[in-house]
């Protein structure tokens, strides 16, 4: 089955890294197929940042996301910008501290969106003690809620992707995220 994931936030939050890790987890460690793409261009600099992952058991022809099954939003601006084509009854995971929830209530209701709140930034800062691992915390939350990739695969992909010496902190972040929801 084809699953389309979109993660959005602003530059510096590690959004793209999160997409790569999920893609890698699916493709190298879960033995599925995955394609990861991301936004380029002026708007990717400083402003909004976005990555998308398509995961499928079969081969993936069309590599782009058209209407995501899962949307993860780490900033309000990004949420508003990219929320539009989320599938009806799709999953929306937000970092509640970065988002003005009242602005999306109508949308969520109308489209029967399954909304989850994962305070990734806060968890990273307060529990893990490292703000920049908010993206890994978010991966934990995504894996818990959606099961797009297995816990093992996610962990292996994280270990494969983060700088040497930071492995423990990152696994801790993943687990903190996993525990959030």
């Amino acid at each position: 089955m084809r699953t389309e994931v979109r993660i959005a936030g602003f530059g510096g939050q590690g959004v793209i890294m999160a997409g790569v890790i999920i893609g890698k987890a699916a493709s190298l460690f879960d033995n599925k197929n995955a394609v990861q793409t991301q936004s380029y261009g002026p708007e990717a600099r400083g402003g909004a940042s976005r990555t998308e992952v398509v995961i499928d058991d079969d081969e993936i022809d069309y590599p782009k996301v058209t209407s995501p099954d899962i949307l993860v939003a780490m900033s309000h601006e990004a949420l508003i910008k990219y929320m539009g084509d989320l599938k009806d009854e799709g999953v929306l995971i937000i970092d509640p501290d970065m988002i003005v929830e009242e602005e999306i209530v109508d949308f969520v209701n109308e489209h029967k969106i399954k909304l989850y709140r994962a305070p990734a930034t806060k968890t990273a800062t307060e529990d893990v003690g490292l703000r920049i691992v908010a993206n890994i915390v978010m991966i934990g939350a995504i894996v818990k809620v959606t099961e797009v990739v297995s816990v093992d695969a996610a962990k292996q992909a994280i270990l494969d992707s983060v700088p040497k010496g930071t492995e423990d902190k990152n696994i801790q972040a993943f687990e903190a995220g996993y525990a959030l929801l």
Binding site: F10, G46, G47, S75, E77
Partner: protein
């Protein structure tokens, strides 16, 4: 009077570094782009030299000058 245009400011802090009179401080006011704006905390020390206006990369600063 010093005005910072919060729509233009990108929070680079160059005004803070440039002002010879240390007029500026960083505020905890955030704009829509998640930027922490500076504010003229010690405006009374301002000599209206215009350096901050000239240095601000985003044309975000207005320093009212005497009208001759």
């Amino acid at each position: 009077m010093i005005i910072i245009d919060s729509k233009l400011c990108k929070g680079c802090d160059i005004c803070i570094a440039t002002c010879p009179k240390n007029v500026y401080s960083k505020s905890d006011k955030v704009n829509t782009k998640n930027v922490y704006l500076p504010f003229p905390e010690h405006e009374e020390g301002c000599t209206k030299c215009g350096l901050c206006e000239l240095s601000c990369p985003d044309q975000a600063i207005y320093v009212e000058k005497e009208v001759e």
